[in-house]
Symmetry: C2
Subunit: 355 residues, 2 copies
């Protein structure tokens, strides 16, 4: 029995693997593989249309919000966002709340002025900064809703008074929110949406068209909206896997239903961590992520022993990010509660033996 706690690409629902595997051989009983069908054919167009419609439905988006499936990963959005929204003489506000949150701050100055409103770098990003001021003339405020490496999460939508942009790569669709309060949301698909190789962008069309610079076609959100995410050959298979995963999420009862399960998974794991002194988490209690639980074992011998135990027991992907070490357990939508229960039991046994 394998329990997959990978941080991304990460576990997807079993039925998605089965349907995707079948489609690589025979897509919808056409006798053709999903890999060999034209993207502008009546075979693929309904897949993309259903994926976009499911996002609109699951996120309860209003008519101003467009759903795009783009190439390039969230890292491309780090520059595509300011390229589309920020004129040279204008200022964008950014929150520096993690290794990933710091990366877009390095890309934005190529396009305009950047004001970092707050940073938690002073304490290794172990908390989410609060009570920061956002300049009223900022053309947008950008933050990372969940910090995969550090295991922190912004639990409420900040009140900003300026257009709101969020990198939700690692907690998109994991909890109910008023997504219409955001003007732009982007997320690499490879955690809660589907397979690596596609990035979802939700954008309020009213914030576009302000910048004076000429944009390369592939970087222009408006051209992608006009072309309905089909400006060039899209990542066909990755979008198909997203569609299957979104269907599964709807079958589970949607975002509010999955949030309840996600809450139980995180509660069980944090309760276990807090109870067993051999494990320690550096993250401020109020800012703990429900998607990525990050912790350490201070004794190097025990750290090694626990790593080996996890390997032997089929617990995959519990190693912390290469930049910080320690342990990281990811609890994305598709991870069953039973995997968290198995891990919690293992931790309990380990603590009893070595406590």
């Amino acid at each position: 029995m394998i329990h997959n706690f990978n941080a991304g690409p990460s576990i997807l629902p079993r039925q998605v693997f089965e349907q995707a595997s079948e489609a690589v051989i025979d897509f919808n009983e056409t006798g053709l593989s999903i890999l060999e069908i034209g993207h502008r054919t009546p075979l693929f167009k309904p897949v993309l249309a259903e994926a976009r419609a499911l996002v609109k439905e699951l996120m309860q988006l209003d008519d101003d919000h467009e759903v795009l499936f783009l190439h390039g990963g969230a890292t491309t959005q780090f520059f595509q966002v300011p390229m589309n929204l920020l004129n040279e003489e204008e200022t964008a506000a950014y929150l520096d709340c993690g290794v990933w949150g710091s990366k877009p701050i390095k890309e934005a100055p190529l396009f305009g002025k950047v004001k970092v409103v707050a940073s938690s770098k002073d304490k290794d990003y172990s908390y989410i900064p609060k009570n920061f001021d956002i300049p009223s003339n900022a053309v947008y405020f950008h933050y990372t809703s969940n910090n995969t490496i550090e295991g922190t999460q912004m639990h409420d939508i900040p009140s900003t008074g300026v257009p709101l942009v969020a990198d939700m790569s690692s907690d998109i669709l994991s909890r109910a929110m008023d997504f219409n309060r955001f003007d732009l949301i982007y997320a690499g698909a490879q955690k809660n949406i589907g397979a690596a190789g596609v990035t979802m962008v939700v954008v309020n069309r009213n914030i576009l068209g302000r910048v004076k610079r000429q944009l390369p076609s592939m970087m222009d959100y408006r051209k992608h909206i006009e072309a309905e995410s089909m400006l060039n050959t899209p990542p066909v298979f990755s979008i198909y896997v997203c569609m299957l995963t979104l269907r599964w999420l709807k079958e589970q009862g949607g975002v509010a239903a999955i949030e309840k399960i996600n809450h139980r998974k995180a509660a069980l794991l944090y309760e276990t961590l807090d109870r067993l002194p051999v494990f320690r988490t550096k993250v401020d209690k109020s800012d703990r992520s429900k998607m990525n639980v990050v912790f350490v074992i201070d004794n190097p011998d025990l750290e090694k022993a626990f790593t080996e135990l996890c390997n032997n027991e089929g617990m995959v992907g519990v190693k912390g990010h290469r930049s910080v070490g320690g342990f990281r357990v990811s609890l994305y939508n598709a991870l069953p509660l039973s995997s968290v229960q198995a891990l919690a039991e293992l931790m309990q046994h380990f603590a009893t033996k070595h406590g």
Copy 2:
């Protein structure tokens, strides 16, 4: 029996579909899906390394030429190439030889000066311009080696005296060439390399680092070289399918061996077209593509009848590109000779009946 003549995404070898389908359920007997493994794990790294090594081997690239697997499709390369190579006050030379060849010409002026050295637009791109002059101060010359929509192909590598850049999306790895004569080659994977969602770039590292502008990280070839195509989460599954397809090509005997089969396929189809007056091709004989055979039936009733016949006989994807109409038959590497034989017979029957 289905014969898949799709223009891209297009047919891949049967064994690739089978292996890819299996890997979506159980990758290399790990019990994990290829869709749920981390890209920096010992599971995926060898896949990317093998894909890159196979490209180097099959194209017989020297040590100056780097192989990258990037996001974004060839359409992203339309602007990424000038962004990396062309300073504002400098000139790049372009050949305008097709609908796809004309697109990068619209993107390059965002970065510098563009000189179109020749165009075949005057005759609906039905031929490849010859005897054009390339300014000696051009920082590069760009052309499209095969024009998918119009069915023309540049059969020889042009002598330019300046760095050579080619979009080889639709004929990469289909014929033996001295690939080291190119300074930059790019190709969307979804024809001869693998599945949609990844783009191969081969670049001579010596032409990089000249431009004065600051580049967004994801657009900087040098950063991708340094990160070995792992600057962010790569399109894992698409790269895996490329690796399988490249393995298959090597098993076939490599590029020189597949070229012989490709030649036979194209020769059979053009011979059939030339023999049967009901079919007509507008392309200059010397510039005919061996990858995409484009033709028309002048009588609209017969055009409709042949379309229906193809549909009934399992001939998929013979419809011409939406911008030009008529018929297009794509003969990419994975299309077996038997499919071309079946089509040629069908054309013969059709001509006998309606001739």
